[in-house]
Amino acid sequence: MSADRLYQLLLRTYPRDYAAVHGGELLATLEQSSGGRIRVREVTGLLVGSVRQRWLQDRLRQPRATVTSAVWPAVLVLLGFDFMFNVASALHMLPSPSGPSAILQSWVVPASMLPSLLLFALALLGHPRPALLFALASYLLPLVRDAGAFSWSDLTPVVSLHALTLAALAITTVRRKSFSAGSWGWLLPPALLGFLATMPSPVAGIALGTALALLAIVAVCEARFALALVPLCFAMACSYLTQWWTHDSYPGSNFVALCAAIAAGVGLVFLLRAGLVLKPRQSAASK
């Protein structure tokens, strides 16, 4: 990879409006100061600079703007997680190629992830209203269809992930704000994570750990991203808690309870991180 290409990629870690205003002059200065070569100090300087720039903008942003701008990333995170989960489930259920119904099932099973793929794509393209209608249909129809065989565990995704996704989509629909379309490349991370989740434990663990570390860095950079991750954390905590409550006699119940506690704890930390930025701004504004 050429130095110019790498520096351009790193410039994308800066806030979009800052890169739009200063990106050209920054790259021109980099071209001269690095002599067209990749230099570790320049790479480090760009990464640290992008974090500092996000911190600076975080402090300047009004608390209300921080909260409202967290809703759309929250929608993308929730739908991205749902898509990742469905990719992992579909790949896990794929039949062996030698089975009699292999040809039919190899098409039917991956189709189960299509609704979540479509929802995530609608959100990426910035269409909250169609996404809300489609989410209502795809989340509620299975409940109506299986109403006869109701169990508490069926409600797990409804009371946690799906309910929060519907609420976030409803908020964005009511606000009627136009959302800029994201890159199609954002489909790749959840799809890749879903694929890696089906791999043996070291690979899956490394992928999950890397993803969590990246999310933590993103949450540290800006309060609105920390806020956007809170619904996912509490949805996961709620999901694990319901599993533990409905199946408390099976051998892994202690591990599930631990997962619920960790997810809730991480959610609280993110909430506290956002609160630390919001609170001083409110007190400063009242002076």
Partner: protein, 110 residues
């Protein structure tokens, strides 16, 4: 009393006393003035420029294309000149505390 400037910020402001400069020229001037001791990376320099601009110590000019490169000159504001002058005086008086006494001090043999 204003808080002390950090060393890179001090040299960035000092580099602009003689007139407006663009990013790469600021980097070179900072290196010259600090005798090579302070050499911020480009990312660090632009972080400092943004922070000093937000504090009203610098004023960015219009973006221009010079020899195919995007350029923006930064100039010192009155507040910036006052801040770097105050910092220089603070450093000078801090240095005087030591230099006026070391001249008369007797150093014990090791």
């Amino acid at each position: 009393m204003s808080r002390p400037l950090r060393e890179p910020s001090y040299f960035v402001l000092a580099a602009l006393i003689d007139g407006p400069l663009h990013g790469y020229a600021i980097l070179n001037r900072v290196g010259e003035l600090s005798e090579g001791r302070v050499r911020p990376s480009t990312g660090t320099l632009y972080g400092a420029l943004e922070r000093l601009t937000a504090e009203g110590l610098l004023a960015p000019g219009e973006e221009q294309i010079v020899e195919g490169r995007t350029r923006r000159a930064y100039s010192l504001t009155d507040a910036g000149l006052a801040a770097v002058t105050a910092e220089a005086q603070r450093l000078q008086s801090a240095a005087r505390v030591v230099t006026t006494r070391t001249g008369a001090a007797r150093v014990l043999p090791a």
